[in-house]
């Protein structure tokens, strides 16, 4: 029954798909500066539903600033951001979450005092509603709510294969695992858009491969749209459907990996950057 082999369909070709996909987030002519210093200059691009979108560029290209703009931590002086079809007003950082945007941080920003479990549970905060007085009682509604969310969290722990460190305080974990927990925390928010700020920074090859696998799985299993920053070209090229390249706060290229890779400006920008 060679049948099986033949019929085993691989994941749909991204390139083919992208055309039809609807736009989730659109950035138009955004500029950002701190006290005169321009971090981002007139950048426009979009992120489509269900894709893995990479933002790459040499150090200091304004990648992180871009991310901070997207999730409302910085407010651009110029330009508009269209989120799910609506032009987004100036919003408070905490509103990003309720808008369905989750993120991880360049240098892990876990809650050091808590266990892996609690860290990921914290991702559910927005989805839990039992008020203070139920919490006082604990037994009954509050406990049930907790349990129902614990189930979700356990699925994530299972998904990321971190059962062994479930009850370990995150401070004690090796860097690679911390990154994984942070990803889990973001996943717990069940975001529409997941922002990953250098998810593989400071990882060894093996860890990088694991992380890549998880990122792809997240994208395929949950259909989560992912925008990730990485300055390791190699990784990005395998992972992402489309890539936007920044350099000195300006956009120098945008398109599918192979295209971008060929682009002369990109090559120049990366000259001297060892990869």
């Amino acid at each position: 029954m060679n049948a099986i082999v033949k019929e085993k369909a691989v994941a749909p070709e991204p390139a083919a798909e992208t055309a039809k996909r609807e736009v989730l987030l659109k950035v138009d002519n955004v500029s950002l500066s701190f006290g005169g210093v321009k971090a981002i200059t007139d950048i426009s691009f979009d992120i489509q539903k269900g894709e893995i979108r990479a933002i790459i560029g040499p150090n200091g290209a304004g990648k992180t600033s871009m991310l901070n703009v997207i999730n409302g931590f910085y407010h651009p002086q110029e330009g508009t951001i269209t989120w799910q079809g609506k032009v987004r007003r100036k919003m408070k950082p905490y509103e990003a979450a309720s808008n369905g945007i989750a993120r991880t941080f360049q240098n892990v920003a876990l809650f050091k005092g808590m266990t892996t479990l609690d860290n990921i549970m914290s991702g559910r905060s927005l989805k839990m509603h039992r008020n203070f007085f139920w919490q006082l009682l604990w037994h009954g509604p509050a406990a049930n709510e907790e349990i129902e969310h614990r189930k979700k969290v356990e699925e994530i722990i299972d998904f990321l294969e971190i059962q062994a460190i479930r009850k370990t305080p995150v401070g004690k974990l090796p860097y690679g695992l911390q990154k994984r927990v942070e990803l889990g925390r973001a996943l717990a928010m069940e975001p529409d858009l997941l922002l990953l700020d250098e998810p593989m920074a400071g990882m060894n090859l093996e860890e990088k491969e694991d992380m890549s696998r998880f990122i792809v799985d997240v994208n395929q299993e949950f259909g989560t749209t992912i925008a990730l920053i990485e300055h390791d070209m190699g990784v990005v090229m395998d992972l992402s459907d489309r890539v936007v390249v920044l350099d000195y706060g300006k956009k120098i290229a945008d398109g599918p990996p192979e295209e971008v890779q060929a682009n002369q400006d990109v090559i120049d920008a990366y000259l001297g950057v060892s990869h």
Partner: protein, 317 residues
């Protein structure tokens, strides 16, 4: 009512300029003393990032030691020198016993340690010299007493205590001295290096421990001076401990690491407090001196969280 709040005080200021001047002077002197205490805080904070709650007690302690020694028959000037010695020993001890083991601990822990130190010094001071208030040995130290009165307009009168003038002068001298110490001397520059960047300081071969001992000693001297001044105006007692908290709002205004800031902050608080008390305090039954300073600082904070001289903080992630 509104009249009492918004008009009447200013009318009074106009009607009785002499009184107003007197108030300003009081504020000025109080400010100087706050500034002096704040100075002690700044010295230590600058060099070690430690918020030294014990500064207030060090003032009292210094004063007590001086007076105590004198009471036990030690001639004033010798007592003064001995006290300086004691402050030196204290500085060394603190560096050895408190600072060194607690290096790199979170602020709050160090803060707590200095409060622990406060307890210890209070206990120790009382243990040795007894708890009851003492008279500062102003004359013996050859500090001016008495007062001079100035005629303001007709029948207006402003009285300046000589000791206050002395206080002002000494304060100015001390600031000047510190300024020179920081900018001209090797250790002083080293100190600033430490304040800016521990690693850098270490790399140019400065022993942090040394530095700490020195700043604590410097702070000790400042405390002594403050103690004398303050003691001369009221008397030397642990009530001062509370007053020492006033240094906090001062620092808030001036910023934790700026010496000029400390002075300016001190004066602002000094003036604000006295004027507030004498012209508005009455409306709420007086005694607002006890908290006005903090409220001023609080309001100020809300608008400029980094202090007068501190630079702006940009949040990054």
């Amino acid at each position: 009512m509104l009249y009492d709040i918004f008009i009447d005080p200013f009318v009074q200021m106009y009607d009785m300029p002499d009184f107003f001047l007197q108030v300003l002077w009081e504020g000025f002197v109080a400010g100087i003393l706050y500034a002096l205490i704040a100075l002690g805080f700044v010295l230590i904070f600058k060099a070690s990032g430690v918020f030294n709650f014990a500064q207030g007690i060090m003032v009292v302690f210094a004063g007590l030691t001086l007076v105590g020694l004198n009471e036990n028959g030690v001639p004033a000037y010798l007592a003064l020198i001995l006290t300086i010695g004691v402050m030196g020993v204290l500085a060394y001890g603190v560096e050895r016993v408190v600072m060194r083991p607690l290096v790199n601990q979170p602020d709050i822990i160090l803060l707590m340690a200095t409060i622990g130190l406060t307890y210890f010094l209070v206990g120790f001071g009382e243990f040795v010299f007894g708890g009851e208030p003492k008279q500062m040995i102003t004359e013996q130290l050859g500090l001016p007493t008495g007062s001079t009165a100035f005629e303001i307009g007709e029948r207006g009168l402003v009285i300046l205590q000589h000791i206050d003038i002395a206080a002002a002068v000494i304060a100015v001298l001390m600031v000047a001295a510190l300024g020179i110490f920081f900018n001209k001397t090797r250790i002083g520059r080293a100190l600033r290096a430490v304040a800016d960047d521990h690693q850098a300081a270490l790399s140019v071969g400065i022993s942090l421990n040394q530095i700490w001992a020195i700043v604590w000693f410097a702070a000790g001297l400042v405390a002594l001076a403050t103690g004398i001044m303050w003691g001369a105006r009221s008397d030397v007692s642990f009530a001062l401990e509370i007053v020492a908290f006033k240094a906090l709002p001062v620092l808030i205004l001036g910023g934790f690491t700026s010496i000029p800031g400390a002075i300016v902050g001190g004066l602002i608080i000094g003036f604000g407090e006295k004027i507030g008390e004498l012209y508005w305090g009455g409306l709420v039954g007086g005694g607002i001196e006890s908290w006005l300073a903090y409220i001023i600082a609080l309001v100020f904070l809300l608008f400029r969280p980094q202090g007068l001289f501190g630079e702006r903080i940009i949040e990054r992630i």
